[in-house]
Symmetry: C2
Subunit: 228 residues, 2 copies
């Protein structure tokens, strides 16, 4: 039976909406000094140049917000305003884990039919572990893999750790860039379940041949039909 890999952020639970909410707070504050469009572009640029340094996750995002705010305002922004950004980052870390529609039922159904599931998620180790715990889903997974980067070597390692060939592995997630393309590259299968917003860095397209589901609720039936 095909082993199923599931992504976490924006596949099992909401994540990007919290980044968007915090970005609005950032634009409110920095928008007092510079045009909001400039602030948005500058933040995206600083985030991008810091990716290699900070990796993924909320702590790095908060540090990039602070850096952008200081740079962009030429040091005019106040410590109190920077403190407000720091606080916004902390509230993100404490956001509740809201499962996406159908996730609870779909993962329960897959676990009940004896599917081997592995959670493959990237970001801060500490924060991801806390979210997985809070999700109440941990017991449905045979393995939990929190990884620094979702690239072909990572997927090869994860698939090997499950003791199957790539052809017997299917990854399911919202990001074409992270959950689909590198998986296809190693010879495994992928199912795309789009989320309504995608971080610019994660944006990519597939050629249209990748199976696409509206929500995780459709996954058990799709697997029954297409993946033994």
């Amino acid at each position: 039976m095909t082993v199923i890999g599931l992504d976490g952020d924006d596949t099992l639970w909401h994540s990007e909406i919290y980044f968007e909410r915090t970005q609005r707070r950032f634009l409110d504050l920095v928008g007092r000094y510079v045009p909001a469009t400039d602030a948005m572009a500058a933040l995206a640029e600083v985030e991008h140049r810091n990716l290699d340094r900070y990796g993924y996750g909320i702590k790095g995002f908060t540090l990039s917000m602070l850096e952008t705010a200081i740079e962009l305002t030429g040091g005019e922004i106040s410590a109190a305003e920077l403190g407000a950004l720091l606080g916004a980052g902390q509230r993100m870390l404490e956001h509740p884990v809201d499962l996406l529609p159908g996730v609870d039922e779909a993962t329960a159904a897959l676990a009940a039919e004896g599917r081997r599931l592995v959670l493959v998620t990237k970001g801060d180790l500490h924060h991801q572990e806390r979210k997985i715990l809070a999700s109440g889903l941990a017991d449905r997974f045979e393995r939990i893999e929190i990884v620094a980067e979702k690239d072909p070597p990572t997927y090869r390692r994860v698939i090997e750790s499950m003791g199957v060939e790539p052809a017997a592995f299917c990854m399911v997630g919202n990001s074409v860039r992270s959950d689909v393309l590198p998986v296809l590259e190693v010879g495994a299968r992928a199912v795309h379940v789009p989320y309504h917003v995608t971080w610019a860095h994660e944006h990519a397209d597939h050629d249209g041949s990748v199976p696409t589901l509206e929500s995780l609720a459709e996954l058990p039936a799709w697997l029954a039909e297409h993946a033994g």
Copy 2:
């Protein structure tokens, strides 16, 4: 043959000295506003209260420095000074990986005699992966486990992943709190290799019965004598 777990920070390579250097920079800056002793105590307190939120690692430490500086100066500190702290945190992330004396030779010797080695390190996933890569030691380890917390459940999982009983596992590291006590608690063995500075949060004592080595250089001979 006993499986050997090795800690990373301050066991294989220097780490705490970079935190100390950055703390001095913090004290220089915040010391313009408040007495340095107050600043030191406040930073320790903010770090401690943020541990559950941020976990271990440099990004969380940088965020805690910024938070302390803003709080302690009542928002008087300038954005430029906060920017300097942000930069100090970034330089920490880029510090070179300096192996401790004897580490290269000891790990080479253990690998050459066919010892099964597992690296067990905690902190930022992304930064630890980069350090392991830069260390040049990765190939000597059968497994690399970057963990969020070094507690008994984590050690049970790591030992199980190596397919041995706790009695056939020996952890080697500089932190009594993280590398010795929880390991003894699960019924495995531990060797303490002290580092000359220990972060206050990691401080703990053992009862004196734990084997203690001056440096990792002594490990191969010690294992040959005490651990089959």
